[in-house]
């Protein structure tokens, strides 16, 4: 790397292009902060899927000013997709080569400001759609796909496989919550920046959608509320039900793209009744249990490229293609609770009131500090000594009671399921899975008039917690017939 600036940098410094603020932008983005010493702002006007005008302002070192100027030149007049493909490498080339040591952050800064303006544009386009939820219009054409990219190896390989299969791919990263590592700091690595880099290295356009309100409303609030109501939530299910696929479809429709794709391990099987969710090749990575709530009309346009691969193969593909993400660790169970301590997280949001620990006959055995600390099937932290191990068998938020009993009392032979999403006809259901890491058990199903689906199990299952998912599989065990939420259980 050089010690000093290239003549191109100095030229852009002294005669910067496209300086200013647009009077009526439909996208505005800012990156960096004054305390950090550098700040960049882009105001853009997008019309007919093209960047009609892009203006920028920078407070910062010569590298930042020149990079902003060069980037504005690179994207002005381009289609939105072309503009979203412009990478740090492209800016560097326009500036006559590498920047001096320690100045590379200028490229990240100005590109981030432009992409935040894109993000703002999509937010304005969406209005309430990205808060209320979006069903999609599916009007897009051709072999085109919006691929969700989290910054991990699975989603990166997903985008790569689609590109290699001849799709026109646009990558999208969702901004879901503020808990992501480094997301508040301008100078530290950030998952959005990392995902953008990954997409650009593959030559793909990248967009970011801000779904914080939607995620808060549909996932985090539900997560906390479930514990308050004595239920055991599954935030990944809630996200797949209302957030991820809907947002990807929104972007696809905005770009005129047909398909959406994610890096989940699952397949979409064709059936006379339409598309059905099916198990992937790699049974150990099967994610059908959390994907059941995808609406059928969205599943019809969804592609899961990793459904045909083993995880080891996916990692090898990433290594072979030189993707930096090849060695990223497996993602967290709950993305917005990085330390895994979800009790602490819930406790911060709700005031827990103490109550009684009782046995099945109502005898008081002890006290507890709040029902939010308990979930059906739990053995640790009950705080009551007994000759045989005690388990939580029921949580009663209204009376603030936690019911405990012996292991045998956790056995369930009947499950009542609601909020059902059907893929196939009910008579095809042969087995049901009620826990993320469980196995399906044979069952018979009956639809009640009030809409509840009753599953009668061929063998008892331990600790079925209300709020968890129940997913029904077909006779061959491969296809998802339906999924729903456990409302009650019985023995």
């Amino acid at each position: 790397m050089p010690e000093t600036y290239s003549p191109e940098v100095i030229e852009h410094l002294v005669r910067p292009r496209n300086v200013g603020d647009l009077p009526e932008p439909n996208g505005l983005g800012e990156s960096g902060d004054a305390a950090c010493g550098d700040i960049a702002r882009f105001s853009i006007r997008i019309e007919d899927d093209a960047l009609r005008d892009a203006r920028y302002k920078v407070y910062g070192c010569a590298a930042c000013i020149a990079a902003g100027s060069a980037l504005s030149e690179l994207v002005n007049g381009k289609t939105l997709l072309e503009a979203a493909r412009v990478s740090k490498e492209d800016i560097k080339d326009a500036l006559g080569g590498p920047l001096p040591v320690g100045k590379e952050h200028a490229l990240t800064l100005v590109l981030d400001a432009l992409h935040k303006a894109f993000e703002d544009y999509w937010n304005r386009e969406a209005g309430a759609l990205l808060v209320e939820g979006y069903g999609g219009n599916g009007a897009g054409r051709g072999k085109t796909v919006v691929a969700a990219m989290s910054g991990g190896v699975d989603s990166a390989v997903t985008a790569l496989l689609l590109k290699e299969a001849g799709y026109e791919v646009a990558a999208v990263t969702f901004r879901l919550h503020d808990g992501e590592k480094g997301s508040r700091s301008c100078c530290s690595p950030d998952t959005v920046l990392f995902a953008r880099d990954t997409a650009h290295r593959m030559g793909l356009p990248h967009f970011t959608l801000n779904l914080k309100d939607l995620f808060q409303k549909r996932v985090m609030r539900d997560f906390v509320g479930s514990y308050e109501r004595g239920r055991t939530p599954n935030p990944c299910v809630a996200c797949n039900a209302h957030v991820k696929f809907h947002a990807a479809a929104f972007l696809a429709d905005g770009l005129g793209f047909r398909h959406v794709a994610t890096g989940h391990y699952a397949r979409v099987a064709e059936s006379p009744e339409g598309p059905a969710l099916a198990r992937p090749k790699d049974a150990t990575k099967d994610q059908t249990y959390v994907l059941w709530p995808i609406p059928k009309e969205l599943l019809a346009r969804t592609v899961f490229p990793l459904g045909d691969y083993e995880k080891t193969e996916v990692r090898r593909i990433a290594e072979d293609r030189g993707l930096a993400v090849a060695y990223t660790p497996e993602s967290q169970d709950i993305c917005f609770i990085p330390d895994g301590n979800y009790r602490k997280f819930v406790r911060k949001q709700v005031a827990a009131e103490p109550g009684e620990v009782v046995d099945g006959s109502g005898n008081v055995l002890g006290r507890h500090a709040g029902v939010v600390d308990f979930t059906v099937g739990q053995r640790r932290g009950i705080g009551v000594s007994a000759n045989t191990p005690l388990y939580v068998t029921e949580v009663r938020p209204r009376s603030k009671q936690v019911v405990v009993g012996r292991r045998k009392e956790l056995e369930v032979l009947e499950v009542g399921v609601r909020d059902i999403n059907w893929f196939l006809s009910p008579e095809e259901a042969r087995s049901v899975q009620v826990r993320y890491n469980g196995s399906p058990v044979e069952c018979e199903v009956e639809e009640l008039e009030d809409g509840e689906l009753v599953a009668r199990l061929a063998e008892p299952v331990m600790g079925v917690a209300p709020g968890q998912s129940a997913v029904f599989y077909s006779g061959d065990g491969e296809r998802v017939v339906a999924g729903g939420v456990v409302a009650r259980s019985g023995s």
């Binding site: 600036y5 910067p16 305390a35 950090c36 010493g37 000013i65 320690g102 100045k103 301008c186």
Partner: protein
Amino acid sequence: MEQRVYLDHAATTPLDERVLAAMLPHLEGRRGNPSSLHASGAAAREAIEEARESVAALIGASAGEVFFTSGGTEADNLALLGLAGAVEDSGKRHIVVSQIEHAAVRETARHLESSGWEVFWLAVDADGLVDLDELAVALRPDTAFAAVMWANNEVGTVQPMQELAETCAERGVPLHADAVQAAGRAPIDVERISVATLALSGHKLYGPQGAGALYVRGGVSLDSVVFGGGQEKGLRSGTENVAGIVGLGAAARRAREKLDERVRRETGLRDRIIAGATALPGVSLNGHPERRLSNSVHLTVEGVEAESLVLFLDALGYEVGSGSACASAGHKASPVLLAMGQGEHEAFSAVRISVGKDNTVQEIDSFLEAFSTATTQLRELSPLTKI
């Protein structure tokens, strides 16, 4: 290259042609090690001793109190490490150092701190002046030495050295003064101002780079930090940089002769810049308004980042210094400005303009125009300030 205007004399000064003329005989066909007994060696020795006389005369010292080094940084290192080493066995492990020292002193003090020395970092006020009362409180029976720079290299504030030296002398604590910026620009008389050691550098007074000197008052003992053949009375081993030392001597002689004239001339140009620049909106002077170096102007330019301003002016043909360096993990604000109570953000917007003996009024006026142009354009570019 187009006509360039050099206004960064605090970084380094151009080599005076008379100085170069004095040096050349010691470079062309050079022979003779000053330590050798033969005629060539004796000639080199004589040239060095003549230079020693000149440097001593500049600061009111006697020749025996001047020791040549490779520059200001080495002189500062030698003073601090030498003073510390000389008293270490007596149990003194405490030093007092101002918060606005040049890195040559600051980092040496930090090195001592990391080897177990206790350092009291003497605060400064908003103008960059140290507090005499605080110094008096900071000095202890086990204080090995104090270090306060004569004039600050960034903001240009000149310290009340007489009072500082008296306070230290009363307590029996040696005082080191980094006079790298002051020597040749402010009258220095160690007879009157009783510092124990004082560092100066050739290339800040129109002499060559790579030559400096440490004044050590008679009777003050210093450990050496460079070992070898015992040159410079054993304090600084290594064959002497004869041409450099001769250059330093010539520069010192010239500086002494021309001191009043240079100060008068530079002060005029300096004040012209201060008046012109601070007349612009959002431009303010850092450092003490009166007690400052004759040649130095340090400005905070609101809403403009220093590096971009310096490079912009460079592109227009004007060479000035930036107040703070932009580093990889964001910026590194100047510790001097932070010590003076400025925020990090203000510190990113500081530039230093330092005139020299050969600058003209016309140059200053055209610089002020360029400065106004650059500031205006960079502010139009800034999303932050509305000035």
